[in-house]
Symmetry: C2
Subunit: 431 residues, 2 copies
């Protein structure tokens, strides 16, 4: 009988071993692909001084920061809190360790972040985020934007989901330049915000929103036309060129977008990318390339990955300029939605490769020898001890593996072992 409520804290993830194995598989894939693409790994602490976190946080994020209560032992120190993303700690890390780093710095961070979000289905208060960033000192070639997107696409492709993945890509300089060209810069903040929300509301609402902030009917139509441009690179670039806008920012944005997509096409990722001028990624923070990933067959899931180019990562902490490009997979939420939509089911593997069952204590030693040999071949193996009946032991291991090796007197003598497939009943010799 329970003496106490043993449920987990709400808004956290706690999985059974089988689900955890699936989760770990995704996380391993992420780390492997990030590494293959040449990203180095760092881990900053989960605890940060609150002033570091608040230097950037504002609005909702600030309200969601978990502060920690120091103990008697740590009482002499500054206020501390739990990090809410990897970006702020990365900025601090780069300023702190600059002289020991090599730029461009290709860096990945996968770990837990904390946010005191309102309890809600699929919203987590502690969650894995898996980030890649490439940081330059003063300057970073645009080709690295494609590098980040390619890495993240390869990561999703490695998941082997039963459904395609699509990166919707844009460059904010296009809209910025256009607003300059049409003298709408003073309204740019509102305009970005309206575009950012345009996919969540009916088209008439977006139109009404533009009118409401004082745009003319003509400018509204022009913007609506613009954000509805999407599709293949050549088509979109042509349409945008046909606008005959001479603004330099606009032209740079167009050229950058074209370069990023060309490089991705060169990597056979053409089927996984599209230009979409609706994608602006809320944050003021992004200045050029922006992207988000969706599962086109599961639109309701929304974005499963996002990122972009920022002019200066470290502006809150230093006067030096560190332009960068990065992206992030919110793994805990991703796992939740993939599971909910049965997109991982086909990957469930048995938890273990082999179970070895010695009939009695006299076979323990030989059983261990066999286990060791199999482990040296990278198999996962357990040996089942104890006096229970063989039938009981077999039904125990059937929940963990399909391969059982029973070792009795005979096997210990002859060293000839048989593997029983617990699903089919087939018996084969162990190689």
């Amino acid at each position: 009988m329970k003496k106490i409520n043993t449920s987990k804290v709400s808004g956290t993830q706690e999985l059974l071993p089988k689900e955890q194995a699936l989760f770990n598989q995704l996380r391993d894939n992420i780390n492997t692909v990030y590494k293959r693409h040449g990203f180095l790994t760092i881990e900053t602490p989960h605890l940060e001084r609150t002033e570091i976190l608040l230097a950037k946080a504002g609005g909702d994020t600030e309200k969601q920061i978990y502060k920690v209560v120091k103990t008697a032992e740590t009482a002499d120190e500054s206020d501390q809190a739990l990090r809410f993303d990897h970006t702020v700690p990365l900025a601090r890390y780069i300023v702190e360790h600059e002289s020991n780093l090599i730029f461009p710095f290709k860096v990945s961070q996968t770990g837990i972040n904390f946010r005191g979000e309102r309890a809600q289905k699929g919203r987590f208060r502690e969650f894995y985020q898996c980030d890649v960033d490439i940081i330059g000192r003063n300057y970073l070639p645009i080709a690295y934007d494609a590098d980040v997107i390619a890495t993240l696409l390869d990561t999703f492709i490695s998941f082997n989901l039963n459904t395609p993945i699509l990166a919707r890509i844009n460059n904010r300089k296009i809209l910025t330049g256009l607003l300059q060209a049409f003298n709408l810069e003073d309204k740019s903040k509102d305009i970005y915000s309206i575009i950012d929300h345009s996919e969540k509301v009916p088209p008439e609402k977006t139109k009404a929103n533009f009118i409401e902030i004082g745009l003319s009917e003509k400018d509204t139509t022009m913007l609506l036309d613009l954000i509805n441009i999407n599709g293949d690179r050549s088509l979109v670039i042509e349409k945008l060129n046909n606008l005959n806008i001479t603004n330099e920012t606009f032209k740079t944005g167009l050229a950058e977008l074209n370069e990023v997509l060309s490089l991705l096409e060169a990597q056979n990722l053409g089927d996984n990318i599209s230009i979409d001028l609706k994608v602006v990624r809320g944050l003021d923070y992004y200045t050029g390339t922006v992207f988000e990933f969706i599962l086109p067959e599961y639109k309701s899931i929304g974005s499963v990955c996002g990122g972009g180019r920022y002019e200066n990562l470290t502006s809150y902490f230093s006067d030096q300029s560190f332009p960068g490009v990065g992206g992030s997979i919110g793994l805990t939420r991703l796992f939740y939605v993939l599971n909910e939509n049965n997109l991982l089911k086909n990957q469930a593997e048995p938890l273990l490769d082999y179970a070895i069952i010695p009939i009695s204590k006299s076979e323990y030693e030989y059983s261990e020898t066999v286990a060791k040999q199999l482990r040296n071949q990278n198999f996962t193996v357990m040996v089942v001890y104890g006096d229970k009946k063989l039938g009981d032991k077999l039904s125990y291991v059937a929940k963990l593996t399909k391969n059982a090796i029973v070792i009795g007197e005979e096997e210990t003598k002859t060293k000839k072992l048989k593997v029983k497939n617990l699903l089919t009943g087939d018996i084969t010799n162990l190689e």
Copy 2:
């Protein structure tokens, strides 16, 4: 120029990429070996309800718990705090999910725990702990104790340190039985504590401590003789048998110790184990097998791993009995002391396998193709973009890898690629 203090919180680990790669190697080894030995993985949340943590914590631990300040959004809930070990959350997990688990439950947990420890060299406030536990329902065969020790030994062996690893093993039933036999049970708590500290003080001090708690000269001598018994199995077992103690607990302890060591010898781990009756592992918690690992050539480092058998994991949370055996590697501290003693140096590998340097933008696409091919062979590869001079690019990549592949017009045409070894200057064909 820095605008703000960007140092990390004290008592936390923050590594440069090269050190982080070494750290990750150890962590990967741990996870791989745990898995091969048939341990399933779980991850409980870092946030726990404070009442769960306080159910077991007492004394120092309670003072070290980091509570978290809830945000406006989470204000309706119970007090929360950061977990300080994996054991309490595991107990909660088992009670909560019992009906969905399979017993014996072989489970590993590797992740961050938090303790508000006094700031001190080599002491951490957030740190990785890497635990294995095997939990039975009502009963757990003693052979699983050897299973846990073998797993942890194999883990240390996989680190390929330049120094041996030794497991010092004991069984608390031996001392418990002896104290029963000599009617010293009422002083057992003090006696355990004196033995636990006996290695940190001179032998005379231990003797004085025994006398001080009221032991006779004879009992003191007997205990001092006992705890100085150590060494090979057959020798120690013989010495203990020669004591002619008929107490059942004593005899059970002796038989268990003998079985655990025989099983470890059978796995060729004989050189890595010794019996040592001084090892009691403070906690009241342990009831049978106890062990700790040391690096005999680096005694000052102290214990690098420890664990043992406990009668009931979940007694704070449930009336049911879940006996278990487990052990833990404190990875953050371990990494710190290994580094400090230069025991990892020989393992530092280049951060990346290959750097590909396209001479100009025209070679970007082909460079990506080559990168993809190498990544498909599991190599870690970065492509270096931008207009910098080749010499600058080569000195950049020399800090990351020893293999550079320069791709110009010629290479793009012929598809014949050369790898320059940046250490030796040697040039070889890419296979």
